[in-house]
Every structure is written in C-alpha cells, then in structure tokens.
Subunit: 381 residues, 2 copies
C-alpha cells in the first residue's frame, strides 16, 4: 500500500506563543483541532446524556472514547463492522482513543502484569482477557480514531520502584506499538510516565521525545498527587518535549487544571469531570461549583451563570434545574452536562484567544483572582 | 378587567373533512395547532429525556403537563412565581394541563371522594391534600397552560353504578370549574365520561356539549376496555359533540388508536406511551414495535425504520442503539424518545395531509393493511 506518511495527516502548527502557552492548529483526517482544546469523554461511544448534535452545538471538536470499554462492549470488531467509531457513534469530527491500560488498572478487579502485557478480568462479567501493546493497537485500529495512544503502565504517583518499572515497561511498549501500527490515518501518541519523581519524568520525556511521534501525552498526573507536584512535573516535561508537536495532558479537566496546564505548554485535555459532576447535580463555573440540589435554589430565577451563552443558561433557571433534580428527571443530567462542557470548551477558546492577543498572562492572573474572590465570598456566607 | 371573550383566543376552524375525519386549525395564545395533533406528555414540566429544542426540531406544537404532579412538586405557586409553566419549562408553544383528577385515582394510594372533591395522600411523601373543582382550576391558572381541563371523575370502564355516579359528579364539577375560572387566556375543556355504557356516554356528551365550551374531551377510554368498545363509544360521542369545536381523546396514543380516533372525529391526542416505551427499549413504528434489546439487532446496520426522517433514524443504527441499551447509556432513552414521538407526530401530519387531499379513507385502509402484513411476517419468523 503506497500510503502517504502520517505527517501529512497530522501536521501541527504553533500559531502564537506567550510564555510556555501556545495557540496551535492540529490537522487530523476528520478536521482541524484548534488548541488549547478540551475533549469531552464518550467512554462507551457516547458522551453521557448528550447527543452528537448537542456536542456540535457546543462546538466540541475532539471526543475521547475508551478502548477498554469498547473492546469489552460492544467489541472492536463490531465497531469496525459498523464502519468504525466515527460512523457507529455518529461523530464526524476528530476522535481520540486511549490505550486501555489505565482502565485495566483502575477498573478491573484482578489483573496480572508481565513484560509482555496484562491479563485481567472484565468488570462487566468477570471473563478473562489479555491486552498487550500489539492487541491495544489492533483494537484501536478497528475503532479507527484519529489519535490513538500507546499502551502504557500508570503507576501510583508516590511509589518510586513501581514507577521505575512502569517507565521501563511504558518505553518498551511504545516501541512495540509503533511496530504494530499499520494505519497511516491514525496518529500514535507516546505517553510520558514517572509519577512525581523529577528524574523519572525527565528520563521518560527524553525517551518518548526521541521517538519523533506526531504528538506526546503526559500520563499519571491528577491521580492523587498535589497541584504543586502536577505543575512541577509539567514544567519538567514541557522543557523536554519538542515545541512543534501537540502535548496532551491525560484525564485532566477542572477549569484551574486547564489554565495551569496551558501555562505549562499543554495543548489537549480530556476529563469525565464535567459530565460526571452533571450526573451528580453539580454545575461547574470558572470560579467554582454550584450544587443545584441545594434548597437555596428552589426559588432562584437566575441561570446557573449569568452571561453564560450555553443552551442551559440561555433558557432555564436554577429553580427549574433544581426541580428536575428533585423530580429525578433525566433532563437534569443533560442540561447540566451541556453547561459543564460549555464551561471547559469556552474556557479553552478564551485561552486560545488570549494567547493569540498576547494577553494570556493577565487572563490567567484574572482567572485565579476571581476564583480566590469567589472562595472568600463562599466562606463569608 | 375588560378582557376579550375567550372565543377570540380559541377560535377553531374545520378546514377539510372526509367522513368523520377533520383537518382543523385551533388558535391558542401561544400559537396555532394544526389538527389532528398528538401532544407529547411532559408530566413533571419536562418531556422525559428530551430538551425543548429537540421537541421543536420534532415540530411538536402542543405539550401536556400534569396538574397533580406539578401541584405536589415543585408546587403551582412556585411555577407561577417563575413566570408560569411556559417560562419555567421553556416551552413557548401551546401547553395543556389535565385537571389532576385522573392521577388522584391512579397514583394516590389513599383517597376519599365526596360530592365536593377528593382528599388524597401524596404518592411522594404521603402528605394529605384535597382537590376540588375550584382548587384544580386555581392550580391550572397558576400553571397557565393554554388549554385546561375540568375536574372530573374517571371510573373503571365496566362498573355501571360507579360510572353513573361519576358522570353525575363530572357534570356538577364542570359547572363549578366554569364558575371558578377567571383567566380569559385559557380554554376550559369539559370531559365526557360514561365508561363503556352507550346511554351514559350519550347523556354525558349531551350535557357537556350543552355548555358551549371552546373544546371537548373524551375521558375514561383506553383504560382497560377493548378497541371495539372504545370505537363504539367514540362514535356515540362524535355524533353528539358540536362539529365546530375541537375534540380531545385523553391519554390515547398508539398509532392505531390515533387512526381509529381520527376516523371517528377526534382532533387531539396525548399519551405517555412513546416516551415510556422508549425508556423500556422499544421503538414504535407505524406497523409495530421493535424491542431493541433483542440480540437480533447486535449486528444490524439499519436504522430503526428505513426512510424515517427523525434525527435517530438519520444518524444511528439499530446496532448502536442496542449497544447503548446494553451499556445502560441514557442516550438510548433520548434517541428512542425522539423516534417514537416522531412516529406519532408524523402520523398526525400525514393524516392531516390525507384529509386535506381527500384520500384519508385509502390512507387508513393502507395503514391497517400494512399492520396486518407486518403481523403475519412477524408470526412467520
């Protein structure tokens, strides 16, 4: 097959920089991504409680789906048979799949890891399965996302010996992934691991950067360590990864995490937080959270956030949302998911604009100031 | 207050007739209704699993909400405080509220009925409440729907003595409702009762018709009697109700019920069936139902119904819907609700068109033929 090299599909341009922050343009077979960008999570081939049309109205452009879940149900072969994940879930914009590694460790009750891969029991029916770097790539090729991830091992952040072993395995496995990969229309991102250990992070970033991949991910952060530790790991990795390739901070997605990440050179984020909080009755705003089950909102005619341009805030009061929650109506999860996703998508767009206009430092300063002000107000009440 | 008489707000014109079937235009303060029309049910101020924007995309024009539920939660005073039900639930097209009577009998575990009204226990918290014709109207005026219903008693269809008493009460109560009513921008519909008893139905229709109301409802059908009994009651009532007023068959909403109703002079329908079936994994089509949890659909790339113009059928396969159901994803209920509502809304529009084009007899014949063909095919399999 005389396919063009993958670089044609996945060119990345940094259009503006301010400090470490970057505004970029990342080409993919299903359209361009304007970075910084937040990717809503569609674990089981659906962003929970939201239609693809609603995601398009939110102007989401990248959606993440989980290899572990889709491999187990409905199965990657079925997805392939149905024309691939874009067609199956009716999302014609870019998709990203993870490698399945993280879920094997976080969801499967029983697993055995060896140098070749991981054997684990399904969290659905207890059946036995095995993932290897080659198998992860085969599954991800069947799913057909634009961006696919190398199979890695994510160790608990504070265990040095474990992290050392996990980094070595992650490095061996990314090379096997590269070898196993056959589709030129998918970008394979390598993942930097190393817990909270500066030397391991440095070693991992250097090795992964040496592979000349179309993009780089930073894994194993926001899994229990402090914000300061996350930030200092990001700074180490940022200094090593090539500047002309996109960087993806995996599983991170509170508003402050996004701003902290962009300040340290990150381009792509994903997180279940906005949709998970929505299903637990919480609205995310730039300055904090509202728990809408609170009786304080029973008579509140205001939208979640005044001035917010999302469908929910343009049309519904806190009193109505509170009623939907009390009445256990599914619409509550839908409307809150729309608002929460809008919060992160709009924050990403605003950061991009600020970087392009050269005022991102002030933007970030104002952002953290307004959060502090809000916290003080909340404490007074 | 020098308000115009309600007839200005609620003019009804029969634009075309074929046999007993009619295509009409019903004016309401929130817009015109083109009949025959099906009203999706938004029991708790939301059509379950659907946003108002999705309802608009379906081109629904009348939505029903339940007085009993909204009185108990969030309370009609709160809804009024929030600007009324249209504003509260963000539905700017016409709304209809029922009287609460039916739910008191079907949902409340304990109730005591007397000539003045009904005392009952809330199905939510067991608290004691009382509904009378005057209270039902006061609640419905707080809610502010365009069409409101007289407080009635719906008796089990086969109990003659009970139906006789219920008809008498229903007639006494509609007069009290008329007296209690103050808002000129709401149309009060009276309700014909009488179970499956021809003489009671006749008596009730004659009395209710004598009140010169802006519209008439037929209650107590599709609550356990046979289709033939429903049809023969409809024929009795149809012959008595004035031809120049809209007729509303309450709580009825399978495709065949709609066609049978229109054949017998009915203009308006409502039912929870399409959204309830959706939450139980069933798709409604004109010719029957598909239970999408069935393993037969695992590999099925077809839409629910080929040629269907709804969002779900334009974009998703049965295999995907079956996956969403197996994975317990909320999107399944949303996508099936959209399809099922479309089925009834499109059937209503097609009936209207056939009546206007003078081919409704053929339309109805083809409709029932294709259902029979489908049933035979299903039996063969």
């Amino acid at each position: 097959m005389s396919s063009p090299p993958s670089i044609d599909y996945f060119a990345f341009k940094v259009l503006a920089r301010q400090g470490r922050a970057r505004a970029g343009l990342f080409h993919t077979p299903h359209g361009n991504l304007l970075t910084p960008i937040f990717a809503p999570v569609g674990t089981q081939a659906t962003v929970k409680a939201i239609t693809p049309a609603q995601l398009e109205e939110l102007d989401a452009s990248l959606v993440l789906a989980n290899t572990y879940h889709l491999y187990l149900r409905p199965g990657d072969n079925l997805v392939k048979e149905m024309g691939g994940l874009h067609q199956f879930m009716n999302w014609q914009r870019p998709l990203l799949t993870d490698s399945g590694g993280f879920q094997v460790f976080s969801l499967s009750a029983t697993r055995n890891i060896d140098e070749d891969g991981v054997t684990f029991k399904s969290h659905i029916d207890g059946s036995l399965h095995r993932l290897t770097p080659e198998k992860s790539i085969a599954i991800q090729e069947n799913l057909g996302a634009d961006i696919i991830m190398a199979f890695d091992e994510c160790a608990p952040p504070y265990e040095r010996d474990y992290n050392q072993r996990a980094v070595a395995r992650t490095h061996a496995w990314v090379q096997r992934c590269l070898k196993a990969k056959t589709r030129p229309d998918q970008a394979l991102f390598g993942i930097v691991q190393g817990g909270i250990f500066p030397d391991l992070r440095q070693e991992s970033a250097q090795f992964i950067a040496s592979l000349d991949l179309p993009g780089y991910a930073i894994g194993g952060l926001s899994v229990g360590e402090t914000k300061d530790e996350t930030n200092s790991m990001l700074e180490i990795v940022d200094a090593i990864l090539p500047i002309n390739k996109p960087r993806y901070l995996m599983g991170v997605g509170s508003p402050e995490d996004l701003v902290n990440g962009v300040l340290r050179g990150v381009d792509i984020f994903d997180c279940v937080l906005p949709t998970r909080l929505a299903r637990h009755n919480a609205a995310m705003t730039r300055t904090g959270r509202l728990n809408l089950v609170n009786a304080a909102y029973i008579h509140d005619p205001l939208p979640i956030e005044e001035g917010c341009a999302c469908y929910t805030c343009r049309n519904f009061s806190r009193a109505y949302l509170r009623h939907l929650i009390a009445a256990k109506e599914m619409l509550a999860a839908t409307l809150l998911s729309i608002h929460n996703l809008h919060t992160l998508l709009q924050l990403s767009r605003d950061m991009r604009k600020a970087i392009q206009e050269g005022c991102f430092d002030e933007f970030a300063r104002d952002f953290f100031e307004s959060r502090k002000t809000r916290e003080k107000e909340d404490q007074k009440q």
